[in-house]
């Protein structure tokens, strides 16, 4: 029971990270109908920016809460630049192309980002000293002590806050309305006087900055990153997006939590070597038997 509770806590933390990345997939898929294959690598760039920022702030004597907020903002801004540029360079010229062209272009972009970071930052793993330490311990008398660390609380709280902000952004603001309009019919939206290009750019910026937050959480939680983390995390987050119903933002979060739970329980109870197989199997099973996900709309093909 205690072991189960611990896995639950760990799974929810991991799930928050996947959920934040999944939002980027789901938003881009919703608006331009493509799988942004480079999104996992945008997440990796975010983790690197956060790592560099943490190292720089360690030299100063700014207090921890302010450092956390500053790193969060820095990671979001710089990573958003990457998302914006990738869209402008690799996807925008292909909007009217055949359907597999953006996917292949995204694949190329993913290779570029991975190897560029490898060239610029080196191929070796980077470690970060724990930023937030300590936590609450439960069941101290039993033989398995359940820990809920402050870091886990921080990650879950930040995720919930950002989720709320962005849900409000999508449902209540003009930008959100423009996005939802673009999802339905881009030509018609343009005729209504909405700048479609800018709306799509904003989607990429929002998605990338959330991925940057996920990257920051990842580097704080695991303390180890390298240039290759985006590949697996990207696939898992994509699975989360599909599981929740691609195109739906609450769905992405729900899917992320589920994938996080599946992964932790799998490695906790079954086998740690095959934990990535668990994610891939989930992906395959979901796509085959359940392609609309929990909160997605069925995809009807019109002739």
């Amino acid at each position: 029971m205690e072991y189960f509770l611990q896995q639950l806590i760990n799974g929810l933390t991991l799930g928050s990270v996947y959920g934040l990345i999944a939002i980027g997939y789901t938003m881009v898929y919703g608006i331009i109908g493509m799988i942004n294959f480079a999104h996992g690598d945008i997440f990796m760039v975010g983790a690197f920016v956060a790592l560099i920022a943490f190292i720089l702030f360690a030299l100063t004597s700014i207090s921890l809460p302010i450092v956390l907020i500053l790193v969060l903002l820095i990671a979001m801004v710089f990573t958003a630049c990457y998302g914006w540029t990738v869209e402008k360079l690799a996807y925008k010229p292909l909007r009217k192309s055949f359907r597999l062209a953006p996917l292949i272009s995204a694949l190329g972009m993913s290779i570029v980002l991975q190897n560029y970071v490898q060239a610029a930052q080196g191929a070796r793993i980077k470690t970060l000293q724990p930023v937030i330490q300590g936590g609450f311990n439960f069941f101290k008398d039993s033989n398995f002590v359940v820990t809920l660390s402050y870091l886990q609380i921080f990650i879950i709280l930040v995720t919930i806050t950002l989720m709320t902000i962005f849900t409000l952004l999508i449902t209540r603001t003009a930008l959100g309305r423009a996005q939802r309009a673009c999802e339905q019919d881009r030509t018609m939206t343009a005729l209504m006087g909405i700048n479609v290009d800018r709306t799509i750019s904003m989607t990429f910026i929002i998605g990338s900055s959330l991925a940057a937050v996920a990257g920051m959480m990842f580097v704080m939680y695991y303390g180890v990153i390298d240039f290759y983390i985006g590949f697996l995390a990207g696939i898992k987050a994509f699975t989360a997006a599909v599981l929740g119903g691609i195109g739906s933002i609450p769905g992405a979060m729900l899917g992320g939590l589920l994938i996080g739970l599946i992964e932790t329980f799998w490695s906790g109870y079954i086998s740690i070597e095959y934990k990535d197989i668990a994610a891939f199997t989930t992906l395959v099973v979901v796509l085959i038997f359940f392609p609309t996900g929990f909160l997605g709309k069925p995809d009807i093909e019109k002739v």
């Binding site: 690197f48 790592l51 292949i104 290779i111 980077k126 970060l128 891939f280 992906l283 392609p291 093909e301």
Partner: protein, 422 residues
């Protein structure tokens, strides 16, 4: 060109510079290095400065170029079209020329060990490209896990050859059959998915196969890989300097001096023949009903369904045949290297093969050859710059998609048309 325009372009360049600074500032400018078990930041501002200036200047030049181009629009014809047209006209002669060249290649004066190795590698990729062209180019299914079948071929060849001691010529078809069976097994549940979902699922399968090879230690020796895979023999005549007692070798049988190049040349011809078989098979099957059904499915699945083509079975044949050729190529790879490990079957290999097919122009057999020479050449030239060459490789993928989304030889002519054009 007005002053306003120059001003506008300069502003644009300034903006590009700022974005470039934001992009490269932290990642390139602040390199993290380990020092005394902690990370410190090593500033590299000069590099960033150079990159930013290059980006801004590049943007300015592109703007001017586009302005000029717009002024004299319609004058120049595109290079790719010209190449494509030229290949259309002289296609048959060029193909024969290329085949003749590849046949006499080993006897060229410059063809030393290094060139032969590159030629063999290119041929392997050409064969894989032609095999995947059946799946992507003809049937229109984007398969990002093609390397899984290559791995299945290589491992089944290696395991049969090591444990049963069967010869290459027996193991080769077995490896092909295994890979094809694997293709059917994977394809059966996933082939009804839409294009991009299919791509992700095949990617997942490819990775699953690799993780399985990595962790199934009893069978595959995990990350250590399989060693001592038998070398191929020339119809029973081994290529050995000092053969076992009573065994006749290639050089004694033909009365030649022993040379290690004999084996390399034999391997070269082996892969050449395998690749050409793949090519001729594809050319022939395109004209059969199943080949036509593939191309029809690629263009419009719903129309095909209403005309009574079974999409699942048709796609499955494409998947299985493509997998079979990957299996052949895999067994060749295993016998050439004499050592295989999961390292050789990573996702990046799949990406390279997909890039070869897509950049060449999906469905174009000549395009596969051209883009293999280009891409593998690119990777070879930048061999000493491990990660830069992959940046260049990914960049080439993006650029070709942006400028020629249908590939270098963009050609999607149906193989068979009605009327006099047929």
């Amino acid at each position: 060109m007005g002053k306003d325009l120059i001003q506008k372009y300069l502003k644009d360049s300034l903006f590009t510079g700022i974005v470039a600074l934001a992009l490269f500032g932290p990642i390139v400018g602040l390199r993290t290095v380990a020092k005394n078990e902690a990370l410190v930041v090593q500033p590299k501002w000069f590099v960033v400065f150079l990159i930013v200036v290059a980006c801004a200047a590049g943007r300015f030049l592109i703007n001017i170029y586009q302005f000029r181009k717009e002024q004299r629009r319609g004058e120049q014809s595109s290079f790719g079209k010209a190449v494509s047209h030229f290949l259309d006209e002289k296609g048959a002669q060029i193909a024969i020329g290329a085949i003749v060249f590849s046949v006499i290649f080993p006897f060229m004066p410059f063809a030393d060990r290094y060139w032969m190795d590159i030629a063999i590698m290119m041929m392997t990729y050409i064969m894989l490209g032609w095999g995947l062209n059946i799946v992507i180019g003809l049937a229109g299914l984007l398969d990002l896990g093609y390397v899984a079948f290559y791995a299945v071929g290589a491992y089944s060849y290696a395991l049969f050859a090591i444990h049963f001691g069967w010869s290459f010529w027996i193991c080769l078809p077995i490896a092909g059959v295994f890979a094809a069976m694997f293709g059917v097994l994977l394809g059966f549940p996933v082939l009804r998915l839409r294009g991009d979902y299919l791509a992700i699922v095949t990617l997942a399968f490819g990775e699953m196969v690799r993780i399985l090879l990595l962790n199934w230690y009893e069978l595959t020796k995990g990350p250590d890989g399989l060693t001592g895979i038998p070398r191929p023999s020339f119809f029973g005549l081994p290529f050995k300097r000092y053969p076992d007692e009573g065994v006749e070798t290639f050089h004694t049988f033909f009365g030649l001096e022993y040379s290690s190049m004999q084996r390399i040349i034999f391997l070269y011809y082996l892969i050449l023949v395998l690749a050409l078989i793949t090519n001729f098979f594809t050319i022939k099957i395109r004209r059969l009903p199943v080949g036509r059904a593939w191309e029809a499915l690629r263009e419009d699945e719903i129309a095909c369904k209403s005309l009574g083509v079974n999409p699942r079975n048709t796609k499955l044949t494409a998947f299985a045949i493509g997998a079979m050729f990957a299996g052949f190529a895999g067994s060749f790879f295993a016998t050439r290297q004499a050592f295989i490990s999961p390292e050789s079957f990573t996702f990046i290999e799949s990406a390279i093969i997909v890039a070869i097919v897509v950049l060449g122009g999906m469905g174009s057999q000549t395009g596969v050859v051209l883009s293999t020479v280009f891409l593998i050449g690119l990777i070879e030239v930048f061999r000493d710059f491990e990660s830069y060459r992959m940046v260049a490789f990914g960049g080439a993928m993006v650029l070709i998609m942006v400028f020629r989304p249908r590939g270098i030889l963009a050609k999607r002519k149906p193989t068979i048309t009605m009327g006099k054009h047929g």
